[in-house]
Subunit: 328 residues, 2 copies
Amino acid sequence: MIEGYSRRKVLLLGGLGFIGSNLAQRLVQLGAQVTLVDNFLPDHGANWFNLDGFRDQVQVHLSDLRNSEALRALLPEQEIIFNIAAQTSHSDSMSNPLLDLDINCKGNLTLLEACRQVNPAARIVFVGTRAFYGSPPFLPATEDSPILPRDIYSINRFAAEQYHLIYHLHYGLPVTSLRVGNIYGPRAQMKHPKYNVLNFFLRLALENRPLKIYGDGQQVRDYLHVGDACEAMLLAGLHPAALGKVWNVGAGEGLPFIELAQTIIELAGSGHLEQTDWPPGSRNYDVGDFVLDIAQIRSQLGWAPRLSIRQGLAQTLAFYQKNHNHYW
Amino acid sequence: MIEGYSRRKVLLLGGLGFIGSNLAQRLVQLGAQVTLVDNFLPDHGANWFNLDGFRDQVQVHLSDLRNSEALRALLPEQEIIFNIAAQTSHSDSMSNPLLDLDINCKGNLTLLEACRQVNPAARIVFVGTRAFYGSPPFLPATEDSPILPRDIYSINRFAAEQYHLIYHLHYGLPVTSLRVGNIYGPRAQMKHPKYNVLNFFLRLALENRPLKIYGDGQQVRDYLHVGDACEAMLLAGLHPAALGKVWNVGAGEGLPFIELAQTIIELAGSGHLEQTDWPPGSRNYDVGDFVLDIAQIRSQLGWAPRLSIRQGLAQTLAFYQKNHNHYW
C-alpha cells in the first residue's frame, strides 16, 4: 500500500524533528515529493543532521503552524499532510502555559483554517499522544478510555486533535488522528531528558553514566520504535478506512521500566542502574503503568509493530554510537 | 449552608450576563460583598438592566479574563470566584474559532495563572457545559460519559475546565467544575436565538409569533431554571466536598422539545407552533436527545432542582412580560 506515496506531494509539519525526519526519510525512499516545515523551537528536536543523506531531496521551510500566510502559500499543492509539529514538553507547558496554548491550540486552528480555505481535499494525519488518557482506569487503554489529561500540554494537544475531528465533521476535511505512545529511535533530541526519558537513557548508557530510576521502576510502559510508528502514519495517510478515525499507535505490550533500563545497559555494554526516591512534586507527572490497546489500527489497517524491543534498541544504540556528536 | 456567604468577598466573572447577574442578585440578598467583571462581549448577555434593584450594592469592572493586570488587581481580596465568563455561541466558534480560543482558552489560563500567583486560596467555581458530552451514547449522561465535543466552542470550554482541574492537581487551587445543562430564566439575552433557543421561544410566544421547530421536535432535553442552577453554584462555592470535583447540574429529567414549546404557548396564552424541515447543515449542531444525570451533586451536596418546568416558565414569562423593553 505505501508504494502509493511515489510522486505524491507530501507536507510534513515539524519535519526536522525526531518523528518528522524519520518519516521524511521513509517518504523520500518511497519516491514522494517531500516538503518540510519546522520552526526550530528551542530545546526541541529540530536538527539539520536529521536530514543527512537526503537533504537535497526535500524542500525545507523554516516556518510555523501559527504563520497563516506561509501555510496558505505552501498548502495548495499538497496531497497529504503529516501534522507532527508541537510543543512537546509536559513541564514547559506548566511553566509557560500560554506558549503551549499558542503553539498547540492556536497553531493547529490556524492550520485547519488554512486547509479549509485553500486545500480542503488534502489528507491530514494528526499525531496525538497517549497523554490524553492520563493514568487510565484499565489497561491496555483503548481509544474509548476516558480523557484524563494531567498537564496543560495534554489538554491542549487533545483540543488540537478534536479541532481536526470537528473540521472533518463540519467541513469534510479528510483527517485521521493517531495517538502515539512512547516512541524511541534514531534522530531524537538527546541534549536533555525533558521530552523523552527512554532516548536519554540510551545516551546515558553510551556515556557509561548512571541510569536513574525513581522508586521501584516497576511501572510498565510500552515502547515503540519510530520506524514502526512511521509505518502506521504512512498507512493512515493513504488508507480510506482511516478517514475520520482516531487510533492508538503503540507497542501493544508493556515492559517494566527497570527491565528496559537493564536491557539498554546490557545491549550498550556500559552504564549502570541507580535507584532513588521520587523527587518532591515529580509524581504529578507520572502516570504509573501504561499500555496502549492497538487492536483498532491492527484490524483496520493491518498494521503491527515489526521490531522487538531488543532489535529496536540495538539499532538505535548503533545509530547514536556512530552519530552522537550530532546529538549531544 | 449558603448563609455562609454573608460578608464574604465574592468575584463574579461574566457578572452582567444571564447566569452571572442572577447569581449576583442572590449573593447580594445573602449579604455577600460582590464584585462583577464583564467585558460586554457583543451579542452576549451583558445588560445593565440585569442589575436593576441592586446596582448600588455591587462593584462593577468592565474588564476581561484576558486582562492579567486587572485580574491581579482584583483577585487578592476575593474569597470565592465564580467563573461564568465565556464566548457562548456554538456557531460563532465555528465562524471565528480564533476568537473563541482567545476568550475560552487564553482567558481561563490567564485567570488561573493570576490566581496561582496572587491568591491561590480563593475558591473557584467554574461553570462548564453539557456540550462536552456531545451526543452521548447513553442517557442520562453522567460525569463519566465520553467527551465528544461537536464544535470549537465545546472543545475550548472543555480545555478551560481541564485547566482548572490541572491547577487543582498541581498547585492545590480549590476548584470545582459544574457542567450545566440548558438554563432558562430571567435576565437572558433575548435579541437573537444563537445561544439559547428556549429563552428566545419565550420571546416569540410573548410576541405572538411562530415557534419554529425543525423536524418532529421529539428530541428530549432537560431544562433547568437559572435560580436552581445558581443554588447549585452557591453550594459548590462553600462545600468542602466540592473541592476538585466535576458535577453535572441539570433538571435530571427530560421533556420533548415540542412539549416544551406547547407548554410555553399555553402559559403565555399567545404564539403558535410551526414545524419545518432541518435547514441544510444545521443538524451538525444538534445532539439529539439529551438528559444530564445529577445523582452526584444530589448525593454530595443535597442539591436538587426546586422549580417544576411549568413553575419556572410561568415565573420567567412574567418577568419578560414586565421587562421586555430591556431585553428585545
